[in-house]
């Protein structure tokens, strides 16, 4: 790569952790951030949607990779060290994929980064890397301030950067006073004031260190891409946002007087630093300024944070900032729908490089004056060559990071350590599992989240934060009985009624079908404390289900009044207006919801429906198209899109393209009931038969003590591996095929599979008892652990296989839920089979609770 190419494109990516438009906008109006104002006038600005959990190391890694945390592997602030004996701040060596600076290095670009969280030990990129352990002063000013091994790459430049560090004790009143009001009132003998001054000094010194290193690189090193990260806004907000105006009644007036300007001042300081950087870079540099999340600065500031791992992050708000200027970028425009996952794909596109299809973000094409061509490859992870990363045999300095842990403890991100290292390691492992579950929830991958949360719950049943997330996942996946169990678990922890419990109970009873009771719970919560947006949203949700549309709209509006950025509330208002046939208002609200959070497939689908009603067919097609790209399995969106292209818009080529992605409707359909033996498959067959569906059974295996109402089997099914011709004879009957045989299903049929799920312990115990009754086994009282694992593997394999199959759809039905709440499960089955002729009353009558024999046995054995 010659200098000629290097000089063509320069991108400067600046990160301001926790920067928030709610703080910035009034400052822009007052002229207090002139540099940022100029940048906005010459470029685009917008919200940048964050991810959950909103933890900086996790989010900044998503920004630099374009991937969700379960792909990049950074879940929290800490991790066990390589020996597993102790814990340390999270290291870049735990990142499982390539970052933007690795890809650009591979492509020959001169690439530098400073302070990214995490970036220690500094990666051997094609430029300069200064790790996030660089700026922390851990010694008094008169003591030797060593720099950790691995802080700077290339190592020979270490001395240059060592000299550019600013020590907090080097600062004077001239640096601190701009952050304070009434500084003459500060009593340095007072412990509180002393602690706060120390914190402010550290924050200013740390970001001044980053600024010094960054400006040195921009001025003296060759660079095509540079990423500079500042954590000071976040740290100042965590320490001092509580003193920010307006003063809340519980904040002492004297502290407010002294510290209410700190947050404003740190923003002003960042504007000054930004000015210096912009002055240094060539005029045709693309400059992108982002924050990973916002920070509540108004009435949404929590008065306290929940006691859960990294609970401090509750102070964060879901929208960060995005500003971009440079060649080809629009001027003075607001953009919508950007996510922090989009930053890396967009930068790759600026350099003309393809996006990895395994990246979760998209190119922000709408920031450019002219739409750009987007190239893609399956994955950058599969590309051969040097990506300038640490090799697997890189030896890490285990001792180096210990002192940096204290910083995280001081900030409140991690709890103080125990003297027992083993306990610390276990806590960190469990916390990271919890965070990983949250990343799955955030991505709508509830099954994966449930798997982790159930394990955590089993090991520590008394953790409220796990119970609440698990309950949420069960509710979303319609496992109502299990959600009900979580209500009981919550009540065991909290005997007193509180709003969290009331909201949870309201959601559970709503799903159980008792909407009036649900409304009562939520209204009780409103009476107790009405200023929580979640409560009004759930109230609206219940009213919507009760078909009280106007009241629902009022409730959602209250939620929005409290938090104008509540996307779900805007979406729900849109749904309510659609139902009362006010389609224009429906469109308006869906568009607002999409503006807040673009990656919301269901909102795009609902928008499409409202647009269709307004006969805006091209726009509707665009909305459905967005939906299907975000959620390729959204069959309804694809069906509507096909209809519009085929019959309304006269676009046969596009119609054919959509049709190719739809299930093959010309193939014959077979309804299958499946599951492990003894998981309730016979009961389901019996229910379908009672409902009026025919069953494919030869009656050879007759009812016995084990299956008192019959087996509903067919001998031909057992030989499916070598002969599946019987499928032609199944017709519109339901056929029972046990789980392991599903892998032999041929591809020339469409399948609707009702898959029975039951606790594996219950299944094995039931099988064991059946075999014992049949005298096929001795008197052995325990069942095989190997069999348990085999079954578990089979189930996982089925889920994995059928998730991606175009010609099969699966409905997972929980056996216990059928027994306990058949009234809830049966409508789902009817909907899944798209067979409204099924007699649900007769199906309900078949469910026999006395058949549930193993439950108590399992519980006691």
């Amino acid at each position: 790569m010659g200098d000629k190419k290097r000089n063509k494109k320069k991108v400067l990516l600046i990160g301001w952790d926790a920067a928030d438009w709610k703080m910035i906008n009034p400052m822009l109006d007052r002229g207090e951030m002139p540099t940022l104002n100029r940048m906005i006038e010459n470029g685009v600005m917008g919200n940048l949607l964050t991810l959950d959990p909103p933890f900086s190391p996790t989010l900044w890694t998503s920004i630099s990779t374009g991937k969700r945390p379960y792909k990049h592997g950074i879940y929290g602030f800490t991790e066990p060290d390589p020996s597993g004996a102790s814990i340390r701040p999270v290291h870049i060596t735990s990142r499982k994929c390539r970052a933007i600076w690795n890809i650009l290095s591979n492509k020959g670009y001169k690439t530098s980064q400073v302070g990214w969280w995490p970036s220690h030990p500094a990666e051997p990129i094609n430029g300069v890397s200064v790790s996030n352990f660089y700026q922390r002063a851990n010694k008094k000013i008169f003591q030797e301030w060593e720099m950790m091994q691995g802080t700077v790459h290339p190592e020979e430049k270490s001395d240059i950067f060592k000299a550019l560090r600013v020590h907090p004790q080097e600062l004077t009143g001239a640096h601190l006073n701009p952050f304070l009001r009434n500084h003459h009132k500060i009593n340095q003998r007072d412990n509180g004031d002393q602690r706060r001054l120390t914190a402010i000094s550290k924050i200013i010194a740390d970001c001044s260190t980053i600024q010094a290193a960054a400006t040195y690189i921009l001025d003296n090193e060759e660079w095509d891409f540079a990423a500079i990260y500042f954590d000071a806004i976040d740290h100042m907000c965590h320490g001092f946002m509580k003193f920010h105006p307006p003063r809340r009644p519980f904040i002492p007036e004297d502290l407010y007087d002294k510290y209410h300007y700190c947050v404003t001042a740190i923003y002003k300081y960042h504007d000054m630093m930004l000015e210096a950087m912009l002055d240094m870079v060539p005029k045709d540099t693309t400059v992108i300024l982002v924050s990973d999340h916002g920070f509540h600065s108004d009435h949404l500031r929590p008065s306290n944070v929940p006691k859960e791992p990294a609970g401090l992050a509750w102070e964060h708000s879901p929208y960060g900032i995005f500003v971009a200027t440079g060649p080809g970028i629009k001027k003075d425009e607001i953009i919508h729908g950007a996510s922090l996952l989009d930053v890396t794909p967009t930068i790759l596109n600026i350099y003309g490089l393809p996006v990895g299809k395994d990246m979760d973000g998209k190119v922000l094409n709408h920031i450019f004056e002219k739409p750009r061509q987007v190239k893609a490859i399956p994955s950058w992870e599969d590309v051969e060559g040097n990506f300038f990363m640490h090799t697997s045999d890189y030896e890490e300095d285990e001792e180096s990071a210990r002192e940096s842990l204290q910083q995280l403890i001081d900030l409140g991100y991690i709890a103080p350590l125990s003297t027992d290292n083993k306990e610390n390691v276990e806590r960190v492992i469990n916390d990271n599992k919890f965070f990983k579950a949250r990343t799955f929830i955030d991505a709508g991958k509830y099954s994966e989240a449930i798997e982790i949360l159930e394990e955590l719950y089993e090991n520590a049943p008394g953790k409220k934060h796990i119970i609440l997330r698990l309950a949420h996942c069960y509710l979303v996946t319609k496992r109502t009985a299990k959600a009900r169990n979580m209500v009981q678990a919550f009540r065991q922890l909290h005997t007193e009624i509180n709003n969290t419990l009331l909201v949870l109970q309201s959601r559970v009873v709503a799903q159980e079908g008792d909407l009036e009771k649900s409304k009562q719970f939520i209204e009780e919560a409103i009476e107790r404390k009405s200023d929580h947006p979640g409560i009004h949203f759930h109230h609206g949700d219940v009213l919507l289900k009760l078909e009280k549309y106007n009241e629902a709209i009022q409730a959602f509006e209250k939620a929005i009044e409290h938090d104008p950025e509540n996307q779900n509330a805007h979406h729900s208002i849109g749904k309510a207006y659609y139902l009362i046939k006010q389609y224009e208002k429906a469109v308006e609200n869906h568009l607002t919801a999409i503006g807040l959070h673009f990656f919301a497939p269901q909102v795009h689908y609902d928008l499409g429906q409202a647009l269709e009603k307004l006969e805006l067919y091209s726009d509707a097609a665009n909305a459905y198209n967005n939906c299907r790209h975000m959620m390729p399995k959204h069959v309804k969106a694809k069906k509507r899109l096909f209809y519009l292209f085929d019959e309304v818009l006269n676009r046969p080529k596009l119609a054919a393209e959509v049709q190719a992605t739809l299930p093959d409707y010309h193939l014959p359909e077979v309804v299958i009931v499946s599951g492990l033996p003894r998981s309730g498959t016979s009961m389901m067959m019996q229910m379908l038969e009672a409902g009026g569906m025919r069953t494919f059974s030869d009656g050879i295996r007759i009812a016995d003590e084990n299956n008192k109402k019959g087996y509903y089997e067919h001998e031909a099914v057992k030989h499916i591996a070598r002969d599946h011709s019987f499928l032609d004879k199944v017709g519109d009957s339901a056929v029972k095929i046990v789980a392991p045989l599903l892998f032999h299903l041929p591809k020339n049929y469409r399948y609707k599979i009702i898959f029975m799920e039951r606790e594996l312990g219950e299944v094995l115990l039931s099988q064991h008892k059946m075999l014992k009754r049949n005298k096929r086994r001795g008197q052995k009282e325990t069942f095989s652990f190997k069999l348990w694992k085999d079954y578990e593997n089979t189930l996982n394999k089925i889920k994995k296989t059928y998730k991606s199959q175009k010609n099969a759809s699966l409905l997972f039905v929980d056996y216990r839920e059928v027994i306990e709440s058949p009234g809830l499960v049966i409508p789902e089955i009817v909907q899944f089979l798209e067979n409204k002729e099924l007699d649900t009353t007769k199906m309900l009558q078949v469910v026999d609770k006395s058949l549930y024999r193993e439950r108590e046995n399992v519980a006691t054995e």
Binding site: H175, S208, A213
Partner: protein
């Protein structure tokens, strides 16, 4: 306020120009503007502090010598 660099000269040490090309009087106690300007501002400030301390020592030495005299 923004600063532009001026390379170290033998007589004046590290100095800075403001955006209008005027010499900036670097305060011994430093300023946020200097830190915000990056490594140049930091180095100029440290240089100023060093010069100031050296001059103080020199003055003290001179003053002390006179007293003795």
């Amino acid at each position: 306020m923004k600063y532009k660099s001026k390379k170290k000269s033998k007589n004046k040490g590290r100095q800075m120009l403001d955006e209008n090309g005027n010499w900036v009087d670097i305060p011994v106690e430093g300023s946020l503007g200097l830190l915000a300007s990056g490594y140049k501002g930091l180095m100029a400030w440290r240089e100023k502090k060093k010069q100031f301390i050296e001059s103080q020592i020199l003055n003290e030495t001179k003053g002390g010598g006179q007293k003795k005299k």
